[in-house]
Amino acid sequence: MDTDLSSQDRKDLDKFIKFFALKTVQVIVQARLGEKICTRSSSSPTGSDWFNLAIKDIPEVTHEAKKALAGQLPAVGRSMCVEISLKTSEGDSMELEIWCLEMNEKCDKEIKVSYTVYNRLSLLLKSLLAITRVTPAYRLSRKQGHEYVILYRIYFGEVQLSGLGEGFQTVRVGTVGTPVGTITLSCAYRINLAFMSNRQFERTPPIMGIIIDHFVDRPYPSSSPMHPCNYRAGEDNGAVYPSVEDSQEVCTTSFSTSPPSQLIGPGKEGGVPPVPSQPAHGTQADQERMCTPLDGGHYSAATPSSSEDTETVSNSSEGKCGSPHDLLETIFIRKVGAFVNKPINQVNPPDSPETASPLQGSLHSEGSSGSSTGNTHDDFVMIDFKPAFSKDDILPMDLGTFYREFQNPPQLSSLSIDIGAQSMAEDLDSLPEKLAVHEKNVKEFDAFVETLQ
């Protein structure tokens, strides 16, 4: 099956797929950190930006992904999956999404690895960036903090969708055909938010089908204070994750051009002979003809980068992304933390550290200072009063104000002791008179009662 693929192409393809898988995991996990991501465009290639996209590498995430892959690549029947789940402060958890990177048997023998496949993988990553913001888990992850955190788990093998509950939906991010199979990236996400008691990540049926509305229906902007996702130095961060990648893993940065077929003539582009037209299917013909590699070494290797991970994380020039000063550090500082304002011994560690790891920051010293500022908050947190059944949080004044004003109405005057006693005496005195009057009108009352019957 692979006899048509040159060894160089095969090596390139494997490298592309490997780094595509790693970048896919980074994009998904970073999209669930709970904060806005911002990376800078650079007109000069650095040699370490795979697929010509500025996607930072969180070392822990890369480590987890490599551990899950264990040197293998996604292949038929062996998919790479990223599971996103939600865990409350009480310890209940719920799977929200499964992102699957799969390979099927449908091969595209004609496609050019070094150019077309690479560019289409780049396009697929852009699509992934867009799609990760439109599934329901994105909004949930932006609001994580006190009550719940978002966790991720990477596994390799068969896709397990049963934890998503009934009626989950699927969105396909895209596909890229290669000479060894078609890469497919998709997401299955939960729509039924009935809570499952799932401490061991077992697929047990829910004990009580409670729908936790306030996770989803909380109006935006939230009226309760948003807390930054603080880095929490804790149980899982004993190890130092290697941030220096293999120096041989350099991404393709140069591409070849060939003169367009209509400009056949001498002396083109430094002596590059014109490309013979090749049979290629469909509308891809023009694109592929353009960039046929004429020999094996058509791309000049960039200077090997010493590290793929230490690119500067800088914000855009006008500082539009949040916390510009924090992001100027080389590695991410702020991560999904845990339970700000709670003492450490109350925090629930993940039940199976091998299978799940909370999103934690890289091992930067500033992280702990961020965490400490969080802990200096008061023991009591002011929250806005939300009257029951009130959905209108934009104007809580309506029902809320009414509620507050009329919670303590002034006391009835007749119930106060002084005035009450006086009027009571008067009432008692006037009773005989009133009775006499009513007795006189007995016939009228009887006639009235008869009309009612």
């Binding site: 806005k36 991501i37 911002c38 990376t39 465009s41 650079s42 007109s43 000069s44 290639p45 650095t46 010509n52 996209l53 500025a54 289409r120 396009l123 697929l124 852009k126 699509s127 867009a130 799609i131 913001r133 439109v134 909004r139 932006r142 969105v171 396909r172 991010v173 895209g174 596909t175 890229v176 935006y220 940065t253 140069s254 591409f255 070849s256 051009t257 003169p259 367009p260 582009e269 430094g270 590059v272 509308t283 891809q284 023009d286 694109q287 003809r289 353009m290 960039c291 058509h298 791309y299 000049s300 960039a302 914000n315 855009s316 006008e318 539009k320 992304c321 209108d392 934009i394 104007l395």
Partner: protein, 236 residues
């Protein structure tokens, strides 16, 4: 009309083989204050997929590509967030076009219907005395219907509904992008300005132009920009 390539006006394509321009139409109903953010979300998502890093041509017919950064944008009037290319120049250009469209919608009258189009094209050089041809290869049209809402509760519902609708639109756009249909072939150095907009300093989108039309109360379109109407490409 905004977009690159304005300095030299392109002639409409000459009569010949039918234009093979891919056309996609999206429709949204929004409040007046949501028009800008909804349009920017869609246009930025399309341009994210249709922009590359800057090309640097070297000798021996090779070129290298710069890096495209991205950033998250939260909408203020819609429960929605999207990703755009990290390029202030590109953002400014889109905001200018959308701003003009929004103003035109507002001053058009009570109906509030219109459409904004993003067209990707290639330039084809012609010999003197003919001016260069602009050959569109992809056209995105967003039809907008502006609604007026009576109270805060309806506005809150609208925030959420429009957010959900935009999520669907993003999924539609991604689906089209991943069909891997026609894209202009990668140009040589001499041809690069016929395919890409090389005027930005940090990224390189395909050549594009943005135009809009406002529908008057009779339902007929009043062209406010380009004279050339690509009617057949607007039909799905």
């Amino acid at each position: 009309m905004v977009g690159p390539g304005r300095s030299r006006c392109c002639a409409p394509p000459r009569a010949g083989p039918a234009m093979n321009c891919r056309a996609e139409v999206l429709e949204v109903s929004v409040e007046a204050r949501q028009v800008e953010e909804a349009m920017l979300a869609v246009l930025h998502t399309v341009l994210l997929h249709r922009s590359t890093g800057k090309f640097h041509y070297k000798k021996e017919g090779t070129y290298s590509i710069g890096t495209v950064g991205t950033q998250d944008v939260d909408c203020d009037f819609i429960d929605f967030a999207y990703v755009r290319v990290s390029s202030e120049e590109l953002d400014r250009a889109l905001r200018k076009a959308v701003g003009e469209f929004k103003d035109a919608l507002r001053s058009s009258g009570s109906d509030g219907m219109g459409q904004i189009s993003l067209e990707f094209y290639q330039k084809k050089k012609s010999r003197w005395p003919f001016s260069d041809e602009c050959i569109p290869w992809e056209l995105w049209t967003i039809k907008v219907n502006v609604v007026n809402l009576a109270n805060e509760q309806e506005r809150q519902i609208c925030r959420e509904k429009v957010g959900e609708k935009l999520c669907e639109k993003i999924i539609n756009i991604v689906e089209v992008m991943n069909r891997h249909e026609y894209l202009p072939k990668m140009p040589t150095q001499s041809e690069v300005d016929n395919v890409f907009d090389t005027s930005l300093k940090d990224v390189q989108p395909y050549l594009y132009k943005i135009s809009y039309q406002i529908t008057d109360t009779l339902g007929t379109s009043v062209t406010t920009t380009m004279r050339r109407l690509i009617k057949d490409t607007l039909a799905l």
